[in-house]
Symmetry: D2
Subunit: 393 residues, 4 copies
């Protein structure tokens, strides 16, 4: 089979965007546990994110969440990040924490509240110009809890209208990516519950509108790699929100719950042209992001573990002997074809990836390097007082 | 609230298509139980279907399955059905029982096998001309059981090409409806697993291609009425395959497993304009069909029960006080809006529907009338010898 | 079929316990919406609960949650409740919001933390003596998020030991009811995930230990009424936590998501002897409680709607013609037996129940009576300042 | 970490029982595909099974299914198997294909049919004496398709009585293992749907009654390794039916759908004492069996792949550094503990296992060795005429 050596070059360009909120506290409706050293500001989140990039070389960008990461001067923030060796990435809007949005935002029946939500996205676009961000990511918490509570059809039509207004405001290099989610926080219906809805909505907007696939936002049993294949085929896979789950939207570390599924997803990404050199204009056709909650585990090591998991599975996916696989598939050799895939999956790439890192001046063992750095003890000591960041702020 | 009287007129046009195969034996991979009186021929199936229509007035059409219902002379069959008081309806193709289709049909990597499957659909279209059928329904069993077994992307592209060829053969009054299914008989991936895939495929074909929604073909927890809303909004809901389920594609009597879900589906059908007077050309915008298995219960009474369930839920859906509902929804009155919906659901329409039937010369109690007719004893006595129909023939 | 008249007497004793926390604010990890008039104290919660009982006659008890409802003088609280016309019911322990419990409580590997959790239950038992409560309900948030994080076997053994200590402290009239839950807040494993585990644990304790069945705590597709049947058969169904769900533990109004399921549950309760006159000692063999979140709907009306839903389904369950059902079941008459069940389900009992209420000096329409009472406006005006109750306090 | 060398001895005793029916044809309700060389008799199935054992050294026993594998002389069959180098294993009863069992077998309301089912098990016990089998495995297809169709409580009581009669007939060295299944072929309720029911039933019988865990028989999302842990803790895990699934009871090759899940299961087996040297009397405390369908892939290679998958995951499970894991767990080091588990999972044991095989006179690559043997071509040529075995015969 293919050896890692032969694919090392393909690994070089890999970039996985970190979510700023992964460094803040998070939890469930039952409890949010605080931890020493948790950032109080976006600047501290960026500093933590830079640690992840520093030991892995995989995470050059940090996604922001508005209003959680609001600052007065985004140009200064951009420079601050640059000094840390990272860039500002996707801007995530938030229309789920204002009291006005109790019954919806971009879908709301009340024109004033809907306008408020649209205006929020205009503000996000303004921020994108300042931060140099390419993508505006929209995840809607809109939905209802009881049959009859809302008019699903009217809401869908209003959503289309709202998106159209937001889309019209985008700059020529900017994109809108629309995330879908099966359920939560709404428990009867969600206004963008599946890829089909997200696809139908963005297809109506135009070329700069794409779908965001969060790996934790599907019904039980859903074949996610099929959706990856389909969206790439339709030219509408804009970005990933990586995480993993056993039950609902658990937001666990990507690859932790079902590593084989992550492998299959990466195989389809590679197969469908979603991985590889950036477009001519420097943008990546598919943006790879994390979207996770480190409720009980350490946050910075959790992010390091996550980007390593993505890299390891990407390596395995690249190792698939495509020619042999095609031959076995065409021959109807079920076990043979499956065996070729499994051969790549079961290959232990960790040693070779450690060597790959060392060859690039990175630590062979990023988690050990981070642990040895003393950074965690430092921030625990330094970050005293203030309010630790969480989803609320 | 609205009274049944006020909606009686709206009930008059209701037509639910019966599947010929519901009258044959069916079962699971473990066992197919035979029953006395099971039809041996399509003519006997039509006779049974006519019984259902006779006591309910709700089932004027019978869908055929090719090759299970193949005959030499479809014009004669059409006349035969007409004499029984029913018409021939949707033609269902079958690409899952020929040995050639072990690894696919319209998606197959082998051009010859793919052509065989396309040709089968050409034959079905020819039959439609003879039977006067409007719809060609395609449910594909295509898929794979193991990761790597097939190239999902190549299969999807070949599917698009195959459908294009079939679509090009349609007559001007004919439609192609593409069904989707979550899983089974394939256990890793299905080539048309969700409404999004079916929608993307038919949208690429043209106005005469539509989606078929089988209520049993979704992942656990899927909000089916949302999909109904969305497909109606997109103008692509072609037909329903009604049945019900607790687990997988159980194919139980429609409304048996979750009557409230059937109600919500019918509410969205009405809301979205999917129910009502036929189009000018006589065709119905949405075709309502049953697709069920009566594994352990009596078949003809099972079909009677099914069409009555659909009628009863349609009546309840029509009873929803739409103006009051809109007002409550707009006001953000969650319990009020939900209460208006539930009020219609909990209304016992059975007495009024019995009266509705009597007013049209139908028996008040169709199941009792059928039981009293002696038909079951007659067919049990008459249909001796031959091979009882089942999915195999 | 049986008429409501004949079962009116059986409805008289029905009592559904209200959870004090249903009157406080609740929400998801994304947002908790506040509402005017939300109680700040347990006394105000009791006042709200008394409103529910006042208009329905169905809710004579209120369950407390410790420490959320801690007071200095429980005898005084008991008297306060009594003056409002309600009694204090089940005591719910809480071992999920103290920082010490991040990695478990009754299952914790650290003996000191485990003792803290045991001591908390001792305190709850002391409170029960003061409040006159019969049941100590234990719902454990214990579990892990990642494979390997904990030793599931060791945790189970420690749980058994902890429960044994708590059980030993119970008074002779007191019971321990152990709730199980499929997932959340733990996302890989839950220490009491299913009825089998709860049953095995309480069976090892003795007669005063029972299982609590929360209707929202099961895997998708689980046949809950089967579990009801089985636990009644094994003599171990201690109590219900009623609510409803479409996806996970949505905690919606009981009967809202799947009214037919609630009906089937009540049918098995009646069939298995779980409904009816209290035991000689005054205790009820099965305690019926609500455990819900009114995230977006009004709380007091939400509770009124809930107890009415339970009553309506109980009435329908009692209406099942058991003799006819037995005969049809024995005869293998599938459609006949199912039809008998559905006949009861589809019977509109609402008018008769309104009459039942009026005959007992209660308002025919409890929701309208509550709305007309002016109570909501009064508490919205009165309850200004202070901290609204929620899960945090 | 532990090296494979150090655990090689622990691998030596591993034995995985093959199901005779895996060598016959199987499929779905839609189609059963036939293949050249499929056995027509139990003798031919045994010959095929011997091939699997011959190249892997892992499969010394073959489970029989009665009546599919009925012969006149079981002693002769035992000798025949012995000559092939394999032994006869578990006897599986079948109460789902006789017309009498349409509405149940051991649970049937009709005493005569119930007696027929009990007698069938007596016959199986007689066969066990002749074959030298230890285990009588009971999987019941009993259940209902519609609410109300059966009396679940009465059925459960009759099941208990039937099992008691069967149990009383067991020889002193024989065991009864009761399998549970979530659904199928029954679609509303299954009489033994979950481990709790199976456990409650066998606990009432005595020490020789145990639970059989089929890995494909759970609700979506179920944590199976938790059940493994619990049943081992309760001393009631009798046997495994290994297979894998993406959706329902797909019966795919074990480890194919979720290799990490198989790993976690084996980790709990090892942790709980379910793996290791046979008991003093030669019996194994937990019997490891396959129960799969090779619908589209080659059958003998499918079985070879399956036992290798179990062996590879057993090796990885044995490699877990238990001392380090305990330390990390106790320290609350979430990522550390998880990392130790993942380290074992990601270790590529295939090379070492090839060496292990060669050291024992087995082929390094069993699949290649089988392919090179010419056996498949031979049976395809030889086995002409007759009726290929399938579930029906």
């Amino acid at each position: 089979m293919t050896t890692l050596n032969s694919i090392a070059g393909q690994l070089d360009g890999q970039a996985i965007e970190l979510p700023s909120w992964a460094f803040g506290n998070s939890g469930t409706r039952f409890k949010v546990f605080a931890t020493p050293g948790t950032p109080r500001t976006i600047q501290e989140k960026l500093a933590d994110a830079a640690q992840v990039h520093g030991v892995t070389g995989l995470a050059p960008k940090v996604a922001l969440h508005i209003p959680w990461d609001k600052v007065d001067d985004y140009s200064a923030l951009r420079e601050f990040a640059g000094d840390l060796g990272v860039a500002l990435g996707t801007i995530n809007s938030n229309t789920f924490q204002d009291d006005a949005y109790k019954f919806g935002s971009l879908t709301h029946a009340d024109a004033a509240i809907r306008q408020q939500a649209i205006d929020h996205h205009f503000e996000c676009i303004d921020i994108m110009h300042a931060t140099g961000s390419q993508d505006l990511k929209i995840w809607l918490a809109d939905g209802t809890n009881y049959p009859g509570q809302g008019d699903m059809r009217g809401r869908q039509d209003r959503l289309a209208d709202s998106l159209e207004q937001i889309y019209a405001r985008l700059g020529s290099e900017q994109r809108l990516v629309l995330e879908y989610k099966f359920f939560e926080p709404a428990f009867y219906h969600t206004d963008v519950p599946d890829w089909g809805t997200s696809y139908a909505q963005v297809a109506a907007l135009g070329d700069k509108a794409m779908v965001c696939l969060d790996t934790g936002h599907h019904a039980p049993g859903t074949n996610i790699e099929f959706i990856v294949m389909q969206l790439l085929r339709l030219g509408k896979l804009g970005s990933f929100d990586f995480n993993s789950r056993f039950y609902a939207d658990d937001d666990l570390i990507v690859g932790a719950a079902d590593p084989f599924q992550l492998f299959r997803i990466m195989v389809e990404v590679v197969r469908g042209g979603g991985y590889g050199p950036a477009n001519q204009d420097g943008s990546s056709p598919v943006a790879f992001m994390l979207d996770q909650c480190h409720n009980v585990e350490d946050k910075i090591p959790g992010q390091i573990r996550s980007v390593l998991n993505v890299q390891e599975m990407t390596a395995r996916a690249l190792l698939v002997d495509r020619a042999a696989l095609d031959a076995a598939q065409t021959a109807g050799d079920v076990l043979g074809a499956n065996g070729i895939l499994m051969d790549a999956f079961y290959t232990d790439v960790r040693g070779d990836l450690a060597a790959w890192r060392e060859g690039r001046g990175l630590p062979a063992d990023p988690l050990a390097a981070y642990a040895a750095s003393g950074y965690q003890a430092q921030i625990a000591a330094d970050r005293v007082g203030g309010t630790q960041s969480s989803w609320g702020a």
